[in-house]
Amino acid sequence: MTDMTAESGLTAPRSDTYLNHGSTLWSWLTTTDHKRIALLYFGSITLFFFIGGAAATMIRLELISPNGALFTNDGYNRLFTLHGVIMVWFFLVPSIPTTFGNFLLPLMIGASDVAFPRLNLFSWYLNTVGGLLVVACLVLGGVDTGWTFYTPFSSMFSNSYVFLAVAAVFVVGFSTIATGVNFIVTVHALRAPGMTWFRLPLFVWTQYATAIVIILATPVLAISLALIAAERLFGLPIFDPQHGGDPVLFQHLFWFYSHPAVYIMILPAFGVVSELIACFSRRQVFGYTAMVWAILGISVIGFFVWGHHMFVAGMSPFAALVFSFLSFIVAVPSAIKVFNWTFTLYRGQIYFEAPMLYALGFIGLFTIGGLTGLFTASLPIDVHVTDSYFVVAHFHYVMVGGSVSAFFGALHFWWPKISGRMAPDGWARFAAILMFFGFNFTFFPQFVMGYLGMNRRYHHYAPEFQIYHVASSMGAVILAAAYLLPMGYLTWSLFRGQKARANPWGATGLEWQTSSPPPKHNFDQRPVVTERAYVYHPDQESPRHEEPNAREPHNPQGQRG
């Protein structure tokens, strides 16, 4: 048992935390402290989450009746395009890496900041410029091409502000590339002494793998969108079928980015869930090395499967077979991870805190999302269900059920470390459970109507699907409530929440060895790592965490340097 008194120094509230290290707006806008940049990003993505969420609510309202009168055809097209573009590039891709990745990566590896602090701030400014461009596009009239910008519609036939939307995504792409460069170099160069590669927490592994995927995928998206801009602005016939151009070439370039992009969105969620399950079942993650190879496997094989979005797009049957085969291979590492999480619970000491409820919800929803991925990877079924609501339900299960619930789990787990306050327990658990049921109620009916023939992006649909749409819209109301609730009680906790100790959950990560909120330079003395990650002892676990110091870790990963 470590000496408890040494820990008490950490629990006393500090005065020089990163929050009150400079309170002028200028100090925030020119900060190079990775923790403040994380909060800046946190503001941006929350704003975009609510813009995209508002669009989603309007879509669900429109679809309640078969010939919805809330929007004209053109209005509805611009609405779902807005929902797609903002949710994909302005919330999901940056969500976990730029907020929790920025905040926690240096803390978890025992560094005082990321490798290139100024590049990190520049990345946020690029994200903001991209955000302004997309808001300008939205205000001026929106874009009506769908978030996939398929040519020749986007390059030759669309009358909307395609260039503004394309420029916005181009800029945001380079913002994520900058974050990717930062994370790769940070993990290589700034690990604390003793923190070898296989002692890294799995969250750091997922940030590293996500950075690799970002670096190698985003440039191809930048080019495909730049070619659309070239064709619209200068009339250069690149995808123009009249001059022998091939629209399928655009789809190849676009999906070469956009499938790895879904791994950019889900890998950080894997990292978060591994941390949560390990901490709240008090056990080392089952098969740590297998999890690491699964992460790397997903980020590598994820690049070879993009064609399963194009099975009916006029690709050759040979290519369809190759992509279908590789899509089944990439499903195997995901299956490994689900089973490893499940077996981490075995012989553990399980606490049902709010983050744990989100993590367990994640496993359930991600399993359904992943398995329906097998449906869409097998050729005959995908020929039927592609561009139907079955596919809409599939990617919402993986993105919203997976990535967003992991984001909220991370939010509740590291909230004490970020803000120095504990979130109210009861409300947090209620929100987690509400989100799980609201989500299922919203998206499961879409599987059924998808297979029955409900077309994607149709707002005048055949009347026999109305029952599913009404059910889905009712679920969407519950889901919206489940998303708004945390914004309420977390803001409340900022002012009147219970003060958080350095390690309120008794977790073993290095980020819990410094005070909450941490000082600007993260660690008073640089920690030395002597243990592998997740050294918990479920058998000697002390009783409930109400008693003050009851939850201190037995073997924190790092002693004082």
Binding site: T32, P106, A111, S112, D113, V114, A115, F116, P117, L119, I177, G180, V181, N182, I184, V185, H188, A189, L190, I215, L216, A217, T218, P219, V220, A222, I223, S224, A226, L227, A230, E231, F234, G235, L236, P237, I238, D240, Q242, H243, G244, G245, D246, L249, H252, L253, F256
Partner: protein
Amino acid sequence: MSSPALHEPFEAIDRQRLSAALGMWVFLASEILFFGSLFLGFTVYRSLHPQAILEAGRETNVVFGSVNTAILLISSVTMAVADKAAERGLRRMVVGCLAATAALGLAFLVLKGLEYREDIHEHLVPGPDFKLKTPAAQLFFGFYWSMTAIHAVHLTIGIAAVCLFAWRVSRRAFDFTASAALPSLGLYWHLVDIIWIFLYPLLYLGGRAP
């Protein structure tokens, strides 16, 4: 040993230099894929419409292309010498070489401008009054204009950075031997040159043989 160039998160300057180099190489990997997807588009159309692409390939001015390639290769040499001189602390040599590199870059841009003017004059801009009749020939020039334009943008950024560094090195305060940013600038410049090394045969040498 700490020198003024040492940044906050690093304790040792050589570790910081290695990190800067790794960061730049990771960025270069993304640039390889950035231009690589343009090359992919070109190669796909070359396989779909071989005759038309070769026929259009004969329209580009090979003299401009070759002289421009020579200019960029020489600018790589001067940048390499600037890098070596920086390691030895020869301040005036570094400034001289950087200036030469920037000058060669500007020469490339000027020649490129002249070539563009000539292309426009010869109706090589894809559009209704395009010089060649076969429709797929316009695809070649769709890629010609976008590839050379994107390369020229990268080159302009490179020239601006080289001038900035030449000015900073010429002022006494800047400790350029230890600075991690100068070698990274060299890596970026060499990449822009390598991209042109592959653009040259693609756009200028295709279909020349009888």
